[in-house]
Symmetry: C3
Subunit: 259 residues, 3 copies
């Protein structure tokens, strides 16, 4: 019943080919549906931006995700909201109350000196898994390639388990231009200097997922995936959807490609 000639995919718990889903407020039935059909495909769930602050009754959902070996963290914007108000103690209370053992550190909205950001990463990584996000949420705010590479490597050294290439939920900033196209040259340069297993690329839109899979293979780390896109994403990774159908097939079958 198994298909042959599928690209290799790491299995959970995995250190490459991870998928990070963004949950903007699922209820328990939706969360149970997601776990029942797709838990094996999901490694991280981000409770997007400030949604964990305004939603009710999410503790049970967090536990359900964790029981399926998914690490859950709140969006970096909420970290920034507490930090800019000098309320980090309260932020820790908030994530402790939710039962989270992972955290995202970002500077997508607020200017934070890079050394300060690395201190936060070091601090939080003592007793939590830390992912940190590089790149601004604001359109038009750009950094040169050297700065991207420097920040990513510094943050990994400070204790981040993964660095995330910012794209927002819309997929139009950071590693993408305003029309949603990946910044090829930036990504190329980053890959020369930062271990690719340590980078999660935010890729909320299907053409972006296709681009990364075609460029970097089935086991690329992708983030900001909509919950019920986790299954369609896996079909792209395996070449079981039109867009990547022939990308993983051997040379002797390529002549069958429609074109």
């Amino acid at each position: 019943m198994k298909l042959t000639l599928l690209p290799e995919r790491a299995q959970k718990p995995r250190s490459k080919g991870v998928t990070m889903v963004m949950d903007k407020g699922l209820g328990m039935s939706q969360a149970r549906d997601l776990m029942s059909t797709a838990a094996h495909l999901i490694d991280f769930i981000k409770l997007g931006f400030g949604t964990s602050y305004v939603s009710k009754n999410i503790e049970e959902k967090v536990r359900l995700y964790q029981e399926h070996n998914i690490r859950v963290f709140t969006g970096g914007t909420l970290f920034e909201a507490f930090m800019v108000r000098d309320q980090l103690e309260n932020y820790i209370q908030h994530i402790d109350n939710l039962g989270l053992d992972a955290v995202e550190i970002s500077d997508g909205s607020v200017k934070i000196p890079h050394e300060k950001k690395c201190e936060y990463i070091e601090l939080f990584s003592r007793d939590r898994l830390v992912v940190s996000e590089v790149g601004a949420k604001e359109a038009g705010v750009t950094m040169d390639h050297k700065e991207w590479i420097l920040q990513m490597n510094n943050e990994l050294e400070a204790g981040s388990s993964f660095v995330i290439g910012e794209a927002r939920e819309s997929g139009t900033v950071g590693i993408y231009s305003h029309n949603g196209k990946a910044d090829n040259s930036l990504i190329d340069d980053i890959l020369k200097e930062v271990p690719k297993e340590k980078i999660i690329w935010e890729a909320p839109l299907k053409p972006q997922q296709v681009w990364f899979i075609k460029t970097m293979g089935a086991d690329v780390n992708l983030g900001n995936i909509a919950p019920f896109d986790a299954i369609p994403l896996e079909t792209l990774r395996l070449g079981l959807r039109g867009d990547t159908f022939f990308d993983f097939l051997p040379d002797n079958l390529q002549h069958l490609k429609l074109e």
Copy 2:
């Protein structure tokens, strides 16, 4: 655990800062998920256009919404469908069978003399909460600003609890141009003559929500919100998402804004 420096938000039951969600056919699990996570954020639910006529098993859903202190009404298009066929008696039966105590009166598809529309509003408002919608669904059908203002005020006087600025589910007509941008000058003129607490602005698209919140504050009344956008919308109202992060922070923190 509470964040300081958040913009003030009215609590339910509230007369400003209301959110009206459009339900196009949720089932009971989805409705329970929505209530469990976001009932405190939702004031009205519209059963969009004719969906209540073709969907099965919605009485229980309506009761669930009402138990959470949400007023439920059918979309104005269904009112127009019954009215144009001279079947208003049957329309009342339809909404009574669903257990609705609110109603939307509109003339988005059918020409109705304005006095006649006000008579309907007066009639229905005797024993129901009435919201009435101003503006056409058809692209290219426009009214001058004075006419918008006159109709809104007449309808409020006739018994409407709120008037709704039409935008459709797509957000491309009425108070918006075809590209989805808000008609600034129209909205400005309306706000000079109509009490803003009495207007619900249809804002289905995120950039429209952001525009209204930036322009009119956290407690603006917004409508045609997709059900599972109620939580993301609240983060926009509170400045807990990148788009409005600095809009409600005091002057002494503005220098931290990334730009």
Copy 3:
């Protein structure tokens, strides 16, 4: 309580006006919600592309759909994935394990000689309902009108119960141009030579649904409908949404149309 002057709609089991929904990975709660509200509106459910291969726990969902008299089949891309690997035996095992009694035969990604495709149709139609898809998934791959007509008629003769006009989930290829507009002249020519009751038009986007309903009437066969668009689609078919409100009303009411 019934509205008069509605266009006629065939009832289930029906041979025209059918709706085919594309399920990309619903869980059981979502599936139960869909059945409870909209089962009477749905004739076919396609488990889109390779999603049935990567999703867990879908046997129960398939049974639920079938209990509601819906024929379920896997997307043609999965057929092509097994076929190109010379694993058709395993494909049959896969769909038998899921309990499917219908199948889609397509050549949207892989070149298959047309006679060979017709042999597959004949083979599978011996003990299953077969639908077959005509048209390529690849943008820029086109066929002349005569070829569309020839293939459709040959496939019906070979045993297909319906032929499907390809559009992908995005609605931008096959019977549509890259901007999503229907290819009027192609569709016109097809309708002259192929029985319209035998064609399901993929129409994932609302403007496409509106176009087909305005052009071909309430009882046009439509496919690739998102699950929770089945109810909104029915309001379009019945003229209970702004877009088609006046399309089915008699001449003596047309003067009431806003324009």
